[in-house]
Symmetry: C2
Subunit: 119 residues, 2 copies
């Protein structure tokens, strides 16, 4: 089993974006189309494999899932663990930093529910 700090190949610390508001920086991390879904699933079910996420987040595509997972990993929000087996096995789980996002995701979801309910 191999646990790396960052196997995504993306260096988020090097990107020097200029944020005009703290919330922009936050949205930059969770703004991807499937990111909140991924984070919610991992918060709800703990460790999940690629295939499980693929099913639970249907109709997400493999490409998009992989891409969003990489970014979340690069931002230190999730941990990717590879089991050197055949066939391959990879699990994803929230890091402490990822868990700290619950304080943001919960209000966000609650507010979103009201929206969908209002129609």
């Amino acid at each position: 089993m191999t646990r790396e700090n960052n196997s995504s190949g993306i260096d988020r610390t090097a990107s020097k974006k200029t944020y005009h508001n703290p919330s922009e920086a936050a949205l930059d991390r969770i703004g991807g189309k499937w990111k909140t879904g991924i984070l919610c699933m991992l918060a709800e079910h703990g460790e999940l494999r690629n295939g499980e996420l693929l099913r639970r987040l249907s109709p997400v595509t493999q490409k998009m899932l992989t891409q969003q997972l990489k970014e979340l990993e690069a931002d230190g929000l999730i941990l990717r663990t590879v089991f050197p087996e055949v066939p391959p096995k990879v699990v994803y789980e929230l890091t402490d930093k990822g868990w700290s996002l619950q304080s943001v995701l919960e209000p966000l979801c609650e507010w979103g529910k009201k929206l969908l309910h209002a129609d």
Copy 2:
């Protein structure tokens, strides 16, 4: 003075997007590049005019500001009030629905601050 329910010309209620997560619906409302900034400014200072927002949110352009304001108004988050004077005067302020977003924006900003502080 003219107060209209929706003078933006955008009908958000007609757009039938399919959200796979409540938070997606929420992000759809506040995800615009300058929206959180606008909402924060209005929450902090109350009524603000176009020019004031333009300055406080610099380097936002007039086009982007207008566009984001229209969408926020179409979503019922802000109220646009026109004073029929010469020269023209327009003020923007939060609606009740807009104020309800504070429960989302606050955690979002707090989390964002930690990010910017961590570097």
